[in-house]
Structures are given as structure tokens and as C-alpha cells.
Symmetry: C2
Subunit: 238 residues, 2 copies
DNA sequence: CTGAAAAATTAACCTGGATTATTTTTTTTA
DNA sequence: TAAAAAAAATAATCCAGGTTAATTTTTCAG
């Protein structure tokens, strides 16, 4: 994370994700205004909350680097993990922008975000922005539906394989892999709370998947050992 | 559905949902252009598909009246029901507009839709449209996340109660209830494929819920018999 | 109105993942 | 660098909902 020094040197920071994903349509057009606002209050350290469930008037961000996880606590104290937000992706948009945040966003790695200043204004000054926003939301919706389908129709082993494969491919698309290895800051409990399993069963299943030589997690890194076998297990619907 | 006669008589049809939901922002502004396109090819009978999973260049609709269900078949032949689309709601938007439809939309009741003509053009001619689209998608995403959470954390009895309550409130908001009675065209198999249960278990559970006097389904109508008990079972997170 | 197909119902048995309990390892903090 | 806290690992038992197999009722086409 070296953009802070760029900022203080008066240089415009070029987002590593520019040209990819959400930023593309926004940044291609009104870079001036956007960057003017963007490079302020941008760093979060691991375990820091970007905003919490219930916060009023939380902001809209694009993740530049790092890893953010979206979670929600229900009244009975159970935690649901909705998804990981990876570099280039939007976070913080919801139907009622001014209402309380429907979930919490926590950084799992040191993270840098760029703030989208005024959504309503940007939408009217820049027609493509609204459509980008809608596309990003539709994409999130589709991802949630894929998780839903996997959780409903498949075994613990297949669910975990799906999750690993999904994250790997999402990172690979942005060249954030090192061969078959990716950073993996999720705890077993996070996997469990994403897939509707218990921590114990995730542990058992991860053990079996490692034994079978599919992939292994070690020191916050995940390495796929048998890519083909993983794909077979997941099926073609990633 | 009397709008066809309106059309042939040369009258502008006023959508019963105007002023609610998705249409609001669109129709308040460019009614002329919109209605010009809208009142054509609008009727679907029960069991008719609006579009099918895989169809190219399917259209964007707003449901005026009726009931549409969104489903997807996975390669292993299992069917997932994603949600019911109720009057006033948008259907057919997805990340890649020109790509194959990611699910099928089937009318469960005789339905009337109004077609949204050219999304990209509308977005640029009318800045609020993009934001409306994004809001609608965010709302769908939130609904999917609620179903996900319920499916993961709750028993069959609670899941079904949640689904009934969610549909009842969504219809009531549009005054499409008759007291505690609503139209209910979903089959037990549809409930099962929405909630990740077997038809047999849905049947068992519906029987128990009726026995316990919570609600009953009869001849495609659902009547809530004990609203308070239903709310208690569902919890406050509808 | 009638036969066939679709949907709903019922019963008996079984299993994947939950639950409870405890130990070991790793990470964090002082 | 040692103590405390968090995370991972392992084992034994249990049950909600799945599976299989019919039967009955409802819907619908001819």
C-alpha cells in the first residue's frame, strides 16, 4: 500500500484495478472529480471495520487492494457471512442508501479503498454510472444465488470445493494468484458461516480434501494441488 | 386484465402499480416515450414462459399484474426456484444484458407486463433510471440473502413460515391481499425447490402448520389463521 | 363426463452433518 | 519469550430431514 506516499507527493494514484471491474466505467470518464475525492481516508488495517451493521449513512467504496468480508448478525446471535469483497469490487451499496447498513464490512487483510463521493449526483452527471451500479448489483445477486444453489443441492465437500474454486477464479481474473496459490485470510469459522456448516464439520471436510490431494490451506495461503479434480468436484457451474 | 381493450380503444393504460415500486421513477418522467412502447405484447397466460434460461436477448419487464416465478435448472437436473416476482416488480435484468438468460421466468397466473424498451438509451436520457435499476437489484439481492440466511439457520417449519410471511407482506404492501387471504399459485414442489427441502417434507410440515392453526392453503389460496403465532415463529427479521 | 396425468398425502427407514466435549496447535499480547 | 487467547483438530453420539415406496385426491384434456 504505497498510495499514501503518492498522495503526499501530490501525484495522482492510479488504481491497480483501473480498467477492470466496477471502476472502469466510472474512472474512464470523470477521473478528475473522482480522483479528487477518492484519495482520502483510504486505508484500513486487518480486522478493522469499514462500517458496521446498523451504521447510518455509511459510504460507498471500491476496494483497491486487500480483502473485505461482509457479515450479518441475526437477533438470535448467529452470524451469516455473505461474501468476500475482492479488489476491484464495489461495496456498501444498498437499496436505502441513507438507512442503516444491512451488514458489517470488515477488512481481513490490510486494505485500501477508494470512496465514491456522491452517488445521486454522479448518477445524474454521468449516465453510465447508474448502469454500472446496477450491473455490479446484478452480479452480486447472481453470486449470492450461486451460493444459495450450492448450499441447497450439494454436500459439505462440494460446497467447500465450490467456495474455494469461486474465490480462486475471482482472484485469478485480477491476476492476484501466484500459480495455484492465493492468499486466504478466511478462518474455518468464516467458511462455516458462509456455507451453513459447523466449524467442526468444515474442519473434518478440509482434512479429507487435503488427504485426497485437492487443496491445502496453510498459514493464510491456499494452494490448489489437483486443479482438475477440484473442477470435477465443483462441476461446470462456477 | 382489461388493458388490451384499453389499448384497442386507443386509451393509455394506467398501470395499477404506477406510484409504487420500480415504475415510479421511470414513469413519473418520460411517460410519453415509455407508454408508447409499453402497451404491446403484454399478456402471458398461466404456465407460459416469459423467457427461458439460455434465451438470448430476452427483454426487461415490469410486472403489472399476475405472478411470475424465476427458476433455474442445474446440469444435474435439479431445479432451483429463486423467487416469485409480484406486481410492480422488475424482471429480466442481469449483468450481461445481451448474454443468455440465467434463469427462466414462468407465469403462474395470467399476467400482464410492461416492456422496458431500451435500457442503455433510457439510462442516458434519464439519469434517475439507472439508480432505480440499481436499487431494484439491491433489493432483490437483499431478498436472496434473507432466504439464504433462513435456509442456513432455520428448521423446515421456520423456513416455510418465513416464506409465507415474506410473500404475504410483499403482496399486502400492494394491497393485493383480502384480509389474511392471498392468492397462492405455488405448488408444494415450488416451495420445496425454493427452500431446499423435499416435497415430502414440505407436505409433512404444511400439514403440521395447518394442524397448529397457523395458516392453510386451499385451492390456490393461502389464509393466515394466526398472524401473531406466524410472526413469532418467523422472528422479527422479515 | 371420463380417463389420465399431476399433485398431494402417508408410512418406514436411513444418513449427513449437528451437537457436545476435550485436546492440541497457533497466534497474539504483555 | 512466556502466558493467554484464539483457532484447529479429533472423537462419540444423535436427530432433522432425506430416501424409497405406495396410495389417494385433484386437475385437466378430450
Amino acid at each position: 500500500m504505497n498510495f499514501r506516499s503518492n498522495e503526499s507527493a501530490g501525484l495522482r494514484y492510479t488504481c491497480p484495478q483501473r480498467g477492470h471491474c466496477f471502476c472502469k466505467s466510472v474512472l474512464n470518464i470523470s477521473s478528475n472529480e473522482f480522483d479528487g475525492h477518492a484519495v482520502k481516508n483510504l486505508a484500513f488495517t486487518a480486522k478493522q471495520y469499514l462500517y458496521r451493521q446498523g451504521d447510518m449513512n455509511h459510504e460507498l467504496f471500491v476496494l483497491r487492494e486487500g480483502w473485505v468480508m461482509l457479515t450479518r448478525l441475526s437477533e438470535d446471535g448467529k452470524r451469516q457471512v455473505f461474501r468476500s469483497v475482492l479488489p476491484g469490487e464495489l461495496l456498501g451499496f444498498q437499496q436505502h442508501l441513507q438507512g442503516p447498513a444491512i451488514y458489517s464490512a470488515i477488512a481481513l487483510l490490510d486494505s485500501a479503498v477508494c470512496r465514491v463521493p456522491n452517488i445521486v449526483k454522479t448518477c445524474s452527471s454521468q449516465p453510465e454510472f447508474g448502469l454500472s451500479l446496477a450491473s455490479a448489483e446484478a452480479n452480486d445477486k447472481m453470486l449470492t444465488e450461486k451460493y444459495l444453489t450450492n448450499i441447497i443441492h450439494r454436500s459439505a465437500r462440494e460446497r467447500i470445493a465450490f467456495m474455494v474454486s469461486e474465490l480462486y477464479h475471482r482472484l485469478k481474473r485480477r491476476h492476484l494468484n501466484r500459480g495455484y496459490t492465493i492468499q486466504f485470510p478466511l478462518k474455518q469459522e468464516d467458511i462455516a458461516d458462509t456455507l451453513g456448516l459447523t466449524t467442526i464439520h468444515v474442519n473434518r471436510t478440509l482434512h479429507a480434501l487435503r488427504e485426497d490431494g485437492l487443496f491445502e490451506i496453510h498459514k493464510h495461503e491456499l494452494t490448489i494441488l489437483d486443479y482438475d479434480a477440484l473442477c470435477t468436484l465443483v462441476g461446470s457451474e462456477v
